[in-house]
Subunit: 353 residues, 2 copies
């Protein structure tokens, strides 16, 4: 009954940070082979990444990033999977799907393999409903609709900018929770997609994530993590907070729920604790900061919104730690680099056309 989901073969790039696992691409071959891959190598550029035959890909290591961005390469993290956002910047496609190399194909409760990318495309291509909660979840799915009491004026929805997918097996826990519950596995398949309501922040995980570059790309910056930085594992969180307040301001939607991937192995909780512990303190101030952000009416493009955010980060978060001063500068550099690599989008985004 439902129309088949378009493949968007020529409109979507898959961005993957360093591939350490040779099985990874083999397992995804039936689903990923039609697409162009952008691989961003996070560590030592002299190491070679093996990509199995038959995949269409481009690979960037640190030397490439430095060459392409020059001094602006400083905004791209080194020795951390946060470097993947360089791939968002060099892509020329409308849509991005990004996935970690320890994420495999999951199966649904009927035992069928889940085509995660297809579900993300479905999510992104149909509207979001951030202004009112629908108790039967995604109203646009087959067999569902808006329930009694849902205002008719809101049923058209708004464009969807981000589709946040979930994980079976190893849940995305922080180090303290990993340490306390080392054996916990996520076995609950929740057959739902939903829009995260306007005004509500959420923890966006970069493991299994799709977005519309044209709508939100310049806000999908994964910050400064890894080598030389005081924190890690907050790259996707940072991007999620920034994207959410900008989507709320611009009237765009973010969905979460299906599709699931199978997250194969937990990262080391001791290493994670070292990377995270400052973030665990800092987020207690960062969340209220983002909850209280009001973007001005003049901020009509993602770039403009993002630069306002950068300014406020400098003004209000630098007192927590000098790191935020550096991060605010990197946010500005990121936008400059984005506009340099995406001149059409930049002028469009700035309303010059």
């Amino acid at each position: 009954m439902a129309a088949p989901t378009p493949l968007l073969k020529d409109e979507l790039d898959i961005v993957i940070p360093t591939i350490r696992n040779l099985d990874f691409l083999e397992m995804w071959r039936p689903f990923f082979q039609p697409y162009h891959l952008i691989i961003v190598q996070d560590g030592d550029p002299s190491k070679t990444i093996k990509v199995p035959q038959g995949f269409d890909y481009e690979l960037y290591n640190r030397n490439d990033i430095n060459r392409i961005l020059g001094p602006k390469a400083s905004c791209i993290s080194f020795k951390d999977s946060a470097c993947r956002c360089f791939g968002y910047m060099v892509s020329k496609k409308k849509y991005i799907y990004t996935i970690d190399d320890d994420c495999f194909v999951a199966t649904n409760p009927s035992g069928q393999q889940i085509n995660a990318l297809e579900q993300h495309i479905k999510n992104i291509l149909c509207p979001s409903t951030p202004f009112f909660f629908n108790t039967l979840y995604e109203p646009y799915r087959e067999g569902a609709d808006f329930v009694r009491g849902y205002p008719f004026s809101l049923r058209e929805g708004v464009p969807t900018a981000v589709s946040h997918g979930l994980w079976l097996n190893i849940p995305d826990y922080d180090a303290p929770t990993q340490l306390v519950k080392p054996l916990e596995r996520n076995t609950r398949y929740v057959d739902a997609i939903m829009t995260i309501p306007k005004g509500t922040l959420f923890p966006m995980c970069g493991m299994n994530l799709a977005f519309d570059r044209d709508l939100i790309g310049p806000a999908m910056y994964f910050g400064l993590m890894g080598d030389g930085q005081p924190i890690g594992r907050y790259d996707d969180m940072w991007a999620g907070w920034c994207c959410k307040v900008i989507c709320d301001h611009l009237g765009l939607g973010i969905k979460t729920g299906l599709p699931y991937i199978y997250h194969s192995k937990a990262s080391n909780p001791f290493v994670n604790l070292r990377k995270e512990y400052k973030g665990i303190f800092w987020q207690e101030d960062i969340i209220p900061f983002f909850q209280s952000i009001v973007l001005p009416k003049e901020a009509t493009t993602v770039q403009k919104c993002y630069l306002v955010l950068a300014k406020q980060v400098k003004e209000k978060l630098s007192k927590i730690d000098p790191y935020f001063d550096k991060l605010a500068d990197a946010m500005v550099t990121w936008i400059e680099a984005w506009d340099e690599l995406n001149p059409a989008g930049a002028s469009l985004a700035n309303g010059k056309k």
Copy 2:
């Protein structure tokens, strides 16, 4: 591993509007028999409602309501299931579960009968998390937790005031949607419970609903519907909007999701359209009204909040239709009647102890 859910036998009343269906209580017997039932007959008081042997119940018809409330009985709807809220008022228990007589026991995907009441008790007894979204849904369920990036300071949650359960088979659609999709059935069992975020309104359905009378009872007024009123089928919606803004103000939580009941038959869409059509217009103004409500700091009890709401309804919604003037008066009468029947709660609620 999890502790067994307490029955709350002496702390919970089941409130049912007129029972037309003799099978209804038989089907629920294994689950409901331990509890006290309050049946509120919505129509002709001369008709007799048959209650099968073995149930502990009290039954109120219109004559009883008039006798008990005197002139204040005007706030209780006649010939409409909205009259059920009289049952909330006369109950002396801490918790209420209310269910319609066309709702039967559902089965989960493993084919087991769902004890809806037990799940509601679970939902109500564990906290809510309205200030930040958890992507793995209810963080307090077995096998789940707060995900990476969820602020630790918010993990204690807040008390849960309302548990909103869902429906398999006939979905709770408005008349236009019923007319357009007469054959649609809800067959999707979504294994999730979640807190509706602060600041987000939702369509609360009264078919399968539990709440904590001590925390939110006085706001659970189902308005003026049915005989002599210009609308119907907005009783639960009205209560939901009022409850949500008051819960948000007082720092209480509302959960939705599990448990499912099996909704056996669709009500007549033509009759529904007649009842609903004004509401369908009006809700386009009512929703923005509730979205913009700011309750004052001095409103520290549900009663105080509710009286502020009543005043604002009179000021801002009466221009839509004189009905809202009458409704605002009825809201005040409802609180007076509530406090009369619940003097301890009233003085407690007013801070006099």
